[in-house]
């Protein structure tokens, strides 16, 4: 049952530059771990030290801040100890500083336990939008993901992901075998909160009929709206304008009256003098 798969380096190399260059905690990465291997309660070791104990299938850790670098990860049966036999092992997993990563222990398409690190997209989404990421981590063939009955993400295979920026709100999602309407998982109501990345994992095994969805939500990707267009009539401006007109009229009127008055009086006095 020992299977070593180092998809790590390849996946992480695809990390967008923006993520790698994130300024906050430049030297740390945010790492979550998802257990997607049915049936096995495990311990997880990073560089020989216990990272997680009694880790149950279908659970997700809180995000950990890990210094950037390379890690040797080992998953053992719960209680087997640091020297215990590896259920899954991945050496030299690169964790770039600033990245937000989810390491998933899951089954390959053929049903073998593997570790796959995914880089989570934490770039901003426009106001009112949410990001939906779907990851195929199940022992199952290619699938389509449907949102409200329409295929939204097509032909997804293990261990890959597809993502989209969609309007925030609740969708009814299900997973069907690619190109068919044979529902493999779901449907489930997914609340895609504005400004978040909702990451949905299909996990388990089609052969064992235990396919399930796991959900991870990362928030903080919201943007402000582009403005507040709070006036379209112009009546306030017009009222302001007419009061301006009245003011200027008063100024000009007073000036004219004063000028005329002086002219008249002077002319009168000049007449009187001559």
């Amino acid at each position: 049952m020992k299977s070593i798969r180092i998809a790590a380096a390849a996946s992480l190399a695809l990390a967008p530059a923006a993520l790698v260059a994130a300024p906050a905690h430049a030297a740390d990465a945010t790492v979550s771990v998802l257990h997607g291997v049915p049936g096995a309660t495990v311990d997880v070791y990073a560089n020989g030290k216990a990272l997680l104990t009694n880790f149950k299938p279908g659970t997700l850790t809180d995000p950990l801040m890990l210094p950037e670098g390379t890690y040797d990860l080992k998953v053992t049966q719960a209680g087997a100890g640091a020297g215990g036999a590896a259920v899954i092992e991945a050496k030299d997993v690169q964790v770039p500083g600033g990245a937000n990563v989810t390491v998933v222990a899951h089954l390959s398409e053929a049903g073998k336990p593997v570790l796959t690190p995914f880089v989570n997209d934490t770039s901003k989404v426009p106001a009112g939008k949410a990001r939906l990421t779907v990851r195929h981590t199940a022992a199952a063939p290619a699938v389509d993901v449907r949102a409200n009955g329409t295929a939204a993400l097509k032909g997804l295979t293990n261990p890959n992901e597809a993502k989209a920026v969609v309007g925030a709100g609740t969708i009814k999602a299900d997973v069907v075998l690619a190109g068919t309407s044979d529902v493999a998982i779901g449907p489930a109501d997914l609340d895609l909160k504005e400004g978040t990345n909702t990451i949905v994992y299909a996990w388990g095994s089609a052969a064992d009929k235990n396919l399930k969805l796991a959900v991870q939500t990362i928030s903080g990707m919201h943007s402000a709206p582009g403005g507040v267009p709070a006036g379209a009539g112009g009546q306030v401006a017009a009222a302001q304008q007419s009061s301006d007109v009245a003011r200027y009229s008063a100024v000009v009127g007073a000036a004219a009256a004063a000028g005329v008055l002086v002219l008249v009086t002077r002319r009168r006095s000049a007449r009187a003098e001559s």
């Binding site: 994130a22 906050a24 945010t30 998802l34 990073a46 030290k49 216990a50 990272l51 997680l52 279908g58 997700l60 850790t61 809180d62 995000p63 950990l64 937000n100 901003k124 426009p126 106001a127 009112g128 489930a188 109501d189 504005e194 400004g195 994992y201 969805l213 959900v215 990362i218 928030s219 903080g220 919201h222 402000a224 709206p225 582009g226 403005g227 507040v228 267009p229 709070a230 379209a232 009539g233 112009g234 009546q235 306030v236 401006a237 017009a238 008063a250 100024v251 009127g253 007073a254 000036a255 004219a256 004063a258 000028g259 008055l261 002086v262 002219l263 009086t265 002077r266 006095s269 003098e273």
Partner: protein, 303 residues
Amino acid sequence: MPGPQHRTAARAGSVTRDDVADVHVTPSRHRAPAGDPPAPFAEGREAGAGVGTEGPVPGRVRGHVPAGARGARTVAAALAAALLAGLAVAWLTRPQQSARPAGSEGIRSVTAPSSSAPGAPAARAPAAGASPSEPSSTPVSARPATVPAAPADGRQGMPEQLTIQRLGIDMPVVPQGVARDGEMALPATPAQVGWYRYGPRPGDRAGATVLAAHLDMPGYGIGPIAKVEDLRAGDVITVRSAATTHRFRVTGVASVRKTSLDLAALFARDGPPRLHVVTCGGEFDRERRRYDENVVVTAVPMT
């Protein structure tokens, strides 16, 4: 306010002292009928007379001025009087600068502290767990990653009514999102206030609750929100939701050009809890049907 009025008129007169001095040594001034000129004119003239008496040109001889020169002086006198009267009226009718209390600069500032920390990891669950900074020594906690149930309290805490008693504002609040063009959506009628539903609710522990309403609208006229420009620091704004009434104290009113408005600060979801009441102001572009400024009222929760 006779005091400042005279001072201003005198100052204005001193700008054109040479002309004025010429005018005031002429005999006509002394023969002008007293008492009947309009008030602004009289004030301007009196102030001008004050300047004239200081003027060092007493030597002009009356009655020996050539006709042409006299005509020119008459025109100069008339112009000076017109200028003084005009200035006096302009000063009397000057637009009132409403006192803008400090405290709303954040909306203008691009470096508002409230809009900081966008890159902070936000996925951290509130569930008790080991400190993430020492992962290698202490195991961290994990939670079931099942599909979360739809929140049953979707309407909980939504603002429903905006009241500003001092201004007689009492408007229903409706949740609003984002319009097709990416700007905040607003209720079509100026009679209602929109609440930016993706942002904080009144009573939330952090961030700015944004309420915005149309200043005016074709076919409606001027909306009640137009009066918020008259708010002063210390005024009370009440926002009612189904279960709770939240009271806020105004800390500032700012008119900000839309091009320099810090939208991230206006819609901030972090920082201290506050209320932003927004409408439009400034000049109106008839073709684009837009005002060029936003009026932003900032208020903080009253404890």
